[in-house]
């Protein structure tokens, strides 16, 4: 009887050890912006998938749209 109780208590004590590990689901991998959307409404002047042309497009757009000194000089 004692042995049985000991075995039962050992099983109960070790029950947590049998739990499967729970890992937190991390953020999905985001697609880089330079890949484009594949939809219309994309600003002309750059090639989706080409990182260099995308970067240049944003720099040009910033200068043309937000730097009025570039227009007046």
């Amino acid at each position: 009887m004692k042995r049985l109780l000991l075995a039962a208590s050992a099983v109960a004590a070790l029950a947590a050890c049998g739990e499967t590990p729970q890992t937190l689901e991390h953020s999905k991998h985001d697609t880089a912006a330079f890949q484009g959307t594949g939809l219309p409404y994309v600003a002309p002047g750059w090639k989706p998938g080409d990182k260099t042309s995308w970067e240049q497009q944003l720099k040009t757009r910033t200068q043309q749209g937000q730097n009025e000194y570039a227009k007046t000089k």
């Binding site: 937190l24 689901e25 991390h26 953020s27 999905k28 991998h29 985001d30 697609t31 880089a32 912006a33 330079f34 890949q35 484009g36 959307t37 594949g38 939809l39 409404y41 994309v42 600003a43 002047g45 750059w46 995308w54 970067e55 497009q57 944003l58 720099k59 757009r61 910033t62 200068q63 749209g65 937000q66 730097n67 009025e68 000194y69």
Partner: protein, 205 residues
């Protein structure tokens, strides 16, 4: 490419709230949530200034550090985004953020706090670029369309600058040289960890 950054030129902001409206419209931001707000400093005092404030996409983002479920991530361009499927709406990020950027919609059952919502620099979220799911959760992905954030592009006085950090800093520097004043860049020291010329001491950045 350098990191994407916002600069608000306090000498130019006329408190028209055009940026707030542009953001709300472009991203179809729900009721009760303002990703961007215009704040007046020293209101009523002669020489008061207004600035447009949203998530600054900090270099060392405190929201990212305190999130218990690690829903935040940073894109290659330095834009701090989050995954609403992972967010539990605990609100820790809103306590940590020095700009009050994280917002929580409250139209859920019994006014329960929903998933966090904040400025995405018009870069969407982890869903496929330009997808309906991305738009529903985060709004437009203008960066993937080769455009800049709507708030900055709609700013009537070009007080709000957004884009490559080097380029916008250069534009701002040129303005300061031309007008000979107004070199203070509100929030840059806090967000990007650099002390800018003319910025006051004592945590007022």
């Amino acid at each position: 490419m350098a990191r994407m950054k916002f600069v608000c030129d306090a000498e130019r902001c006329i408190e028209c709230n055009g940026c707030v409206t542009a953001c709300k419209n472009e991203n179809e931001v729900p009721w009760g949530v303002n990703r961007r707000r215009v704040v007046t400093l020293n209101d009523g005092v002669p020489g008061e200034k207004s600035i447009s404030v949203a998530c600054m996409h900090c270099s060392d983002a405190p929201c990212m550090a305190v999130c218990p479920v690690q829903c935040f991530y940073r894109t290659e361009e330095g834009v701090v985004l989050h995954d609403k499927d992972v967010c539990i709406g605990c609100g820790y990020c809103s306590y940590a953020c020095p700009f009050g950027a994280p917002q929580f919609p409250t139209q859920g059952t019994f006014g329960a706090r929903g998933k966090m919502d904040k400025c995405t620099f018009c870069a969407g979220g982890p869903e496929a670029n330009g997808s309906e799911a991305e738009f529903e959760k985060y709004g437009r992905n203008r960066l993937a369309e080769g455009k800049l954030p709507a708030c900055a592009e709609m700013c009537s006085t070009k007080a709000l600058l957004a884009g490559d950090g080097d380029v916008v800093a250069d534009i701002f520097r040129n303005r300061v040289v031309q007008r000979g004043k107004g070199a203070e860049v509100w929030g840059w020291g806090t967000a990007y960890g650099s002390k800018q010329a003319g910025q006051p001491n004592g945590g007022k950045s």
